[in-house]
């Protein structure tokens, strides 16, 4: 545990939107209606899975993400709703199971 004066307020967790090209993150939750979240989960956006940012359309929107062995493009507004796990926190047990192809 480390005290930091630079971030006095609990910093909002990062989302897929904040990933830089090539950067990787672990999905924590999908802040989306159940049906939409389900659809994204079917495409591989499952909590606990590693997701990395790939290419993007010119202008940076939509962006392509590598997840569960495929590449899926999402608009920034959707990517912002997919929150990432705080990397500094101790790695939580992968509830969703280890990805086969990660």
């Amino acid at each position: 545990m480390q005290l930091s004066f630079r971030k006095p307020v609990a910093r909002l967790s990062r989302s897929l939107e904040d990933l830089h090209p090539g950067e990787e993150g672990v999905l924590d939750r999908l802040d989306l209606p159940k049906d939409v979240a389900r659809r994204l989960m079917e495409l591989g956006f499952l909590p606990g899975h590693r997701i990395s940012r790939a290419m993007a359309a010119p202008g940076g929107d939509p962006r392509v993400f590598r997840v569960d062995g495929s590449e899926i493009a999402l608009r920034r507004e959707t990517a912002a709703r997919l929150r990432l796990r705080d990397q500094s926190a101790p790695a939580a047990a992968d509830t969703a199971g280890v990805s086969l192809s990660a």
């Binding site: 989306l32 209606p33 049906d35 939409v36 389900r38 659809r39 994204l40 989960m41 079917e42 495409l43 591989g44 499952l46 909590p47 606990g48 790939a54 290419m55 993007a56 359309a57 010119p58 202008g59 929107d61 939509p62 392509v64 569960d68 062995g69 495929s70 590449e71 899926i72 493009a73 999402l74 608009r75 507004e77 959707t78 509830t95 969703a96 199971g97 280890v98 990805s99 086969l100 192809s101």
Partner: protein, 648 residues
């Protein structure tokens, strides 16, 4: 098709009831996620022995086909829409679910299932195996893209996987044909009733819980010693060019211009040649017939009606060749990605771009091309606005009226003359109407709801000639059958209107015919737009196709054919005021005067609702726009522009 084992030719009816033996044929459903190669396998199994229709009551296309398994035995294959699960949220999913549960009217419950999965992405695709296996139907699990898996260093133990799933597994490549004989063997086995359903070794997960299903899929994969392949190197390399911030849009632009040029100008000579061929064939055929009613009906009604449809075929074939190459190679997804930002401004999405672009050539292939848009609301919105794009059939009408009424003088120095400016503004007008309509539709009845834009980027692949060829045959048959039958009827009806009643054994002058009477009848309706009954007849005949109005006006003014363009211009000049001419241009920019388009919209939207809405909306807009244009111009020519505003 040479790899297709045991698939001799022979077209048979696809109706399950009229099997020659009188026995209901064996029905096998093909299920799989999108991009799993489902259609490629279906084409391999059935070849040209397939039939396309819509599932009853929905816009989802139903592909059925026959595969011959023994000398005298055929099975019926149903290619179901690509789905990730059997939750019935989207129309595609509902259709797939209903067919598999035997709840789809008119489609017998399948006797067996071919579940096709992409084995380069087995972890994710196996999720679908859980709900399919729980149906307890005889199922063959097909692992497609075996060639890709091997090339990228992945592996899977097929017997182990089969044991885990309690279902036979075939590792195939629908692309190369490798392993497809194994699928044929299975189909033979089920047809002979030799397949028994076993319970999977690995107990199935709770189907509603996707994370659990995914964990189950992962465990099954582990037990089957599945090793995921290395990432597709070439796809990444190509993407770094095609999605490059600078080269990406440039390449996109080149592709767009190439598509546009090809369907707009490239198809022109072929279409002209075809037109001449149809006309001379008609003339030759006509010379064999005795002059009279029958000859006139056959040549002027039936033959020219059918000809007016067939003439679109080169454009359709070229467009679908392009779209086929773009889609099969994987570039279409990249193009949609690049176009998405611009299209979003109009409330649409990236996949609407190519169809709308093609609509500048012709709305018919454009509407058929909206099939690549999975989101139903976006697809209908695209279909609704496509006919506003200035298609090539409007061009001759525009050219004629502009040449007759607008004096050529420089507008922007030597760069732009007033006639070109007028033409350009009509293109802009159509585009604006499309954009406004899209915005209105997408913010009201066709609101996308919560469904966000999601686009899978498939790896790049070489398109195969077989798949391209089948697609071309498929699309042209649909077009010829659907549009052809409607146009045929309309052409015959219009011919009758123009040739009835007979006077002393002679066809009437057009103004005395039923068409003429209708023209007179609708005069009060179109008079506020500055049109008289002669223009009215032209408008009615142009319901078949826009450019027909030129021929009709030619007939009314007693001129043969369209070659007498100058004479027709002078005649129009005496008939229409400047206001009326501008109103006519605006009317043509907005109105839905194309039966082929309506027929295709009806087919693609699965009913009469959307074509009727579209026709009424576009006609109302055309009338309103024409009315405004007529009165503004009239007021402007009568006094100052301010006066014009006041008078309105």
């Amino acid at each position: 098709m040479s790899e297709c084992h045991g698939s001799p030719a022979g077209v048979a009816s696809l109706d399950p009831r009229d099997d020659a033996s009188g026995v209901r044929p064996h029905v096998i459903a093909i299920v799989g996620p999108p991009n799993s190669g489902k259609s490629t396998l279906f084409n391999r199994l059935t070849g040209l022995r397939q039939k396309v229709a819509n599932f009853p009551g929905v816009t989802v296309e139903q592909h059925t086909g026959r595969a011959r398994v023994e000398a005298d035995r055929e099975v019926m294959l149903v290619d179901l829409p690509g789905v990730y699960s059997l939750e019935a949220r989207s129309e595609d999913e509902r259709v797939t679910r209903d067919v598999l549960y035997g709840e789809m009217p008119g489609v017998p419950r399948p006797d067996a299932v071919l579940l096709i999965l992409d084995c380069t992405n087995l972890g994710r695709h196996l999720i679908l195996a859980a709900p399919i296996l729980s149906l307890r139907l005889p199922t063959l699990v097909i692992l497609n893209m075996a060639d890709d898996l091997a090339a990228r260093g992945g592996k899977v133990d097929v017997p182990l996987l089969a044991a885990q799933l309690g279902a036979p597994v075939a590792l195939i490549s629908a692309f190369t044909g490798e392993g497809v004989d194994r699928v044929f063997q299975y189909i033979q086995g089920t047809a002979a009733g030799r397949i028994k359903v076993k319970a999977p070794l690995m107990e199935l997960p709770v189907l509603q819980d996707i994370p659990k299903c995914r964990t189950w899929a992962a465990r099954v994969g582990e037990k089957a010693h599945y090793h995921a392949p290395a990432p597709p190197v070439w796809t990444r390399r190509l993407d770094s060019v095609f999605l490059h911030p600078l080269f990406g849009p440039l390449i996109f632009l080149v592709v767009v211009v190439a598509v546009f040029q090809t369907i707009f100008s490239g198809a022109r000579p072929i279409m002209d040649g075809l037109q001449i061929a149809i006309q001379s064939a008609g003339a030759w055929f006509g010379s064999l017939l005795p002059t009279g009613l029958v000859k006139s009906l056959l040549i002027d009604g039936v033959w020219s009606g059918v000809g007016s449809v067939v003439v679109f075929l080169p454009q359709i074939l070229l467009l679908f060749l392009f779209i086929g190459i773009l889609e099969d190679s994987g570039y279409l997804a990249r193009a949609a990605l690049i176009a998405d930002r611009t299209m979003r401004r109009f409330g649409l999405q990236g996949k609407s771009f190519i169809p709308l672009l093609s609509a500048y050539a012709c709305a018919v292939p454009a509407i058929m091309a909206t099939r690549t848009i999975e989101n139903k609301r976006d697809r209908i919105a695209t279909i609704m606005i496509a006919p506003f794009m200035t298609c090539s059939a409007r061009l001759p009408v525009y050219t004629l009226i502009i040449a007759a009424f607008i004096r050529e003088r420089p507008v922007l120095g030597p760069f732009l003359g007033s006639q070109s400016a007028a033409l350009l503004s009509l293109y802009v007008l159509g585009f604006l109407a499309a954009v406004m309509t899209a915005r209105v539709l997408k913010s009201s009845v066709l609101k996308s709801g919560q469904e966000p834009f999601m686009l899978e980027m498939p790896p790049y692949r070489w398109p195969t000639l077989t798949s391209l060829g089948l697609r071309l045959v498929d699309r042209s048959l649909i077009f010829l059958k659907r549009a052809g039958t409607v146009i045929l009827v309309v052409a015959v009806v219009l011919w009758c209107l123009a040739n009835v009643p007979y006077h002393n054994g002679h066809p009437p002058k057009i103004e005395d015919s039923v068409a003429g009477m209708i023209g007179h009848g609708i005069e009060p309706l179109i008079a506020p737009l500055g049109f008289n009954w002669k223009i009215g007849i032209g408008l009615i005949s142009s319901l078949a196709a826009r450019e027909v109005i030129i021929g009709t006006l030619g007939t009314i003014y007693g001129m043969e054919g369209t070659s007498q363009s100058v004479g027709l211009q002078q005649a129009l000049h005496s008939e229409l005021s400047l206001g009326g001419a501008v109103a006519l241009l605006v009317f043509f920019a907005f109105a839905m005067q194309c039966m082929s388009t309506m027929a295709v919209v009806r087919r693609e939207t699965g009913g009469l609702k959307w074509p009727i809405i579209q026709f009424s909306y576009m006609t109302a807009l055309a009338w309103g726009g024409g009315f405004l244009a007529y009165h503004i111009i009239r007021a402007m020519s009568a006094g100052s522009f301010l006066q014009a505003l006041f008078r309105l």
